[in-house]
Amino acid sequence: MRFIARVEVRLRPGIADPEGATIERALPAMGFTSVASVSAGRSFRVELDADNLDGARAMATQLADRLLANPVIEESVIEVSPL
């Protein structure tokens, strides 16, 4: 069965985010004066085959931990659903 995993990789709390901070500073200049904060990250869309939802979730968690995110500075949020 085919599943789709959406993996959002973001910086761990406390890790400096120069990209998010730069975007945050640019927004008021464009008129978005009520933006409270911006953080930058990445998102991946992975299609994968597994026997069931639990298997798909386990595989997505592994590939996120081993490659997509660097656990030293990043954490990932994973959502898996049938395609």
Binding site: A16, E19, L67, V72
Partner: protein, 227 residues
């Protein structure tokens, strides 16, 4: 017998010839090793040079870590062989967990290409054994993701164990504890963002890199005589 340094080339590496020329200018032999190979036979030390291994896709060093040669690099390091990662090579060593921590985008998001003053903060490594503690060296940096980051516990360990081998006098990129280069516990694996191979001749504006690369060649020679 002259010592031979293997310079590892990934797709996108671009400082390999500078590294070879620097080693040869100091009287060593150097040979290029392709990332898809697995043999490190006959090599006394390794340099992972600068560049953009595998296009720096995902994160610098993230894909290079899975190149076939890396398993051999890990074994070489585990056996005590001297391994030095310069710039992108430092990023690869961190991603491969041969060194702790990670390199993040520079503070201020600027690409930095400039001479920097480094202070030798530990001589207990293959790259700094020939330097003097506290010695200042002028060596250029050339990077976008060179801000060294690690958790507080790792930072404390690195400092307590004398594993921060080089630090910036004027921290240009926001690195934790002004860290420019670190070593593993045994001191045989070293990573640094500055480029010592680009400071090996008066024509380059500094010869201070020879202190570091000379140390590496001595360490490589020692590992030959132990073999």
């Amino acid at each position: 017998m002259a010592t031979t340094v293997g310079v590892v080339v990934f797709p996108g590496t671009n400082c390999e010839h500078d590294a070879v020329a620097a080693v040869e200018s100091l009287g060593g032999n150097a040979t290029l090793v392709f990332h898809a190979d697995t043999s490190l036979e006959g090599l006394d030390a390794l340099i992972l040079p600068g560049g953009f291994a595998h296009g720096d896709y995902l994160r610098p060093g993230a894909i290079a870590r899975f190149s076939p040669i890396m398993e051999s690099v890990v074994s070489f390091a585990a056996a005590g062989g001297p391994v030095v990662g310069i710039c992108n090579g430092f990023q690869v060593l961190c991603e491969a967990h041969l060194l702790p921590g990670a390199l993040q985008k520079n503070r201020g998001l600027s690409f930095l290409c400039q001479p920097t003053t480094l202070r030798v903060t530990s001589t207990r490594s293959v790259l700094t054994s020939g330097a003097e503690l506290g010695q200042e060296l002028s060596i250029p940096i050339n990077h976008f993701s060179g801000s060294y980051t690690c958790d507080v516990e790792t930072e404390r360990q690195l400092l307590d164990q004398g594993r921060v081998v080089l630090s910036y006098v004027d921290n240009p990129n926001g690195s934790v504890a002004n860290i420019a280069g670190i070593a593993n516990e045994a001191g045989n694996v070293v990573g640094l963002m500055p480029h010592p191979e680009r400071a090996t001749s008066n024509l380059m504006g500094s010869t201070d890199g020879t202190v570091l690369l000379g140390s590496l060649l001595s360490a490589a020679g020692a590992s030959v005589s132990n073999a």
